[in-house]
């Protein structure tokens, strides 16, 4: 499988919604 790793996730807001079955992304998540 392709793997989207932590270097590429830096500063993004990454959201895991286990019940909703979705993963979300937004820029500038550390601010």
């Amino acid at each position: 499988a392709a793997i989207f790793g932590s270097a590429q996730q830096q500063t993004l807001e990454v959201v895991y919604d286990g019940v909703g079955g979705r993963v979300g992304f937004a820029p500038n998540g550390c601010n």
């Binding site: 499988a1 790793g5 932590s6 270097a7 830096q10 807001e13 959201v15 286990g18």
Partner: protein
């Protein structure tokens, strides 16, 4: 003017120094982590914001070691996804970190601090979306423990500690969480449950499956969280107390706290060790600008968070990659893998487009898994093509410069991606 505007949209012009933590920079704490009741600060394991930088564990592993461990983790993930798994985990004494049928662990560098027990003891845990079982080192270290900065947790000093029975459903869940069934300490119904979790680089933790009180913040306290209390621990965990399992399986922390948080959590990984990010449970504070892509399930490995990757753009140009290149092997997101891995055809297209846009810069020799490198000696700023990934649902994720370049040294920079060794992976 239009060309200039387009170039600004499709390229980053950055100071190279911005890719490194400044030695004079103050620690900058995440406001999200400070202001949200269910948030923890996320720090680089070896950074200036970490609680772990005062003692023996201060020196970070070098980049060769980080990338070697990263490849061990990726090999493990690929082994788990294939059906060609050996039934038994083989101990390896070689130094080339072969893929074993273990759980995935590599050079995960992000740490949170959780209060465990009553009274509560702060324990720094690496967080990992690629595995389920949370474990910490426990006294007595029956066989061995590695060095950790904080005092090792002693269950006999906690009033909320309880062992898990061998007959319990939790003990049965170990098979899917660790790849190994729980072991009973005896034949009586009151016998305890022993877990063993071994990682792809031959690191391991073993001990009693137990329940404890976990305190995230003063208002987010959970009694009876199942975790591994390890009296036999060895490996590349130097400095930290253990690991926080954030996978999708039943024993993971998000699954155990589902009644409170509905299996929702979010994080931001800081780009520099001078900053903290956050790990937040529940939906509080989630940005309204978040765009969602469906989570897929990876065959044979339901603990992983699968994604449908459908395209890559470089410098505003969508690469010509047939959809099956991504859909055949599938994709997953993992907080513990450092460098993203791509199917060979997708990686070749990315590399070719990136090299073309960077043709004004001198190239340099490759560095282990990174084969596209540049020598920026003499440059203060560089202009990089923007790189973005598209996931199903038209979710476009634009990467920061720190996600495009990996720098083993201050003048030596490499494209921060690697190709898998066959298109089936």
């Amino acid at each position: 003017a239009r060309e200039k505007q387009k170039r600004e949209l499709d390229f980053h012009t950055i100071r190279l120094s911005s890719l490194f933590p400044s030695s004079s920079a103050p620690r900058v704490l995440s406001t999200r982590a400070s202001n949200t009741k269910s948030s923890l600060h996320v720090t680089h394991r070896h950074g200036t914001c970490s609680r772990l930088t005062n003692g023996k564990a201060t020196s970070p592993p070098d980049h060769a070691e980080i990338l070697k461990l990263d490849q061990a983790r990726v090999n493990t993930i690929h082994s788990k996804l294939s059906k060609k798994l050996p039934d038994l985990i083989r101990q390896s004494t070689s130094t080339d970190l072969p893929a074993e049928d273990g759980s995935a662990y590599g050079s995960a560098n992000y740490v949170v601090t959780v209060g465990i027990g009553t009274p509560e003891h702060d324990q720094s845990l690496m967080f990992d979306t690629g595995s389920d079982l949370t474990w910490i080192q426990c006294e007595p270290c029956v066989v061995s423990c590695y060095y950790q900065e904080e005092p090792i947790f002693n269950p006999s000093s906690s009033s909320s500690y309880r062992n898990v029975s061998c007959q319990s459903a939790e003990c049965s869940s170990l098979s899917s969480a660790t790849g190994r069934a729980g072991i009973c300490t005896g034949s009586s119904p009151r016998s305890k449950c022993i877990y063993i979790i071994q990682y792809g680089d031959s690191s391991y933790s073993a001990g009693l499956l137990a329940k404890e009180k976990f305190t995230l913040t003063s208002s987010n306290v959970f009694d009876g969280v199942n975790f591994g209390c390890g009296g036999n621990n060895q490996g590349t965990f130097l400095g930290v107390a253990g690991l926080l399992g954030l996978g999708r399986g039943e024993l993971s922390f998000p699954s155990q706290t589902a009644a409170a948080y509905n299996k929702i959590f979010s994080y931001c990984l800081p780009s520099s060790s001078s900053y903290t990010g956050h790990l937040t449970f529940g939906s509080a504070g989630i940005s309204s600008s978040v765009k969602f892509t469906p989570m897929s399930t990876i065959k044979n490995s339901p603990s992983f968070y699968g994604l449908d990757m459908i395209g890559i753009s470089v410098g505003g140009q969508k690469l010509e990659i047939p959809p099956t290149v991504f859909s055949t092997p599938g994709a997953l997101i993992d907080s513990g893998t450092v460098v993203s891995r791509l199917p060979p055809k997708a990686y070749a297209a990315l590399r070719s487009a990136f090299k073309a846009e960077m043709s004004q810069y001198p190239t340099a020799a490759g560095f282990l898994i990174l084969d596209t490198c540049f020598d920026f000696t003499g440059f203060e700023t560089v202009t990089l093509p923007r790189v973005s990934f598209t996931f199903s649902g038209s979710v476009v994720v634009d990467l920061e410069p720190t996600g495009i370049l990996y720098s083993p040294t201050t003048s030596y920079y490499c494209l921060a991606f690697a190709g898998n060794d066959d298109d089936g992976k």
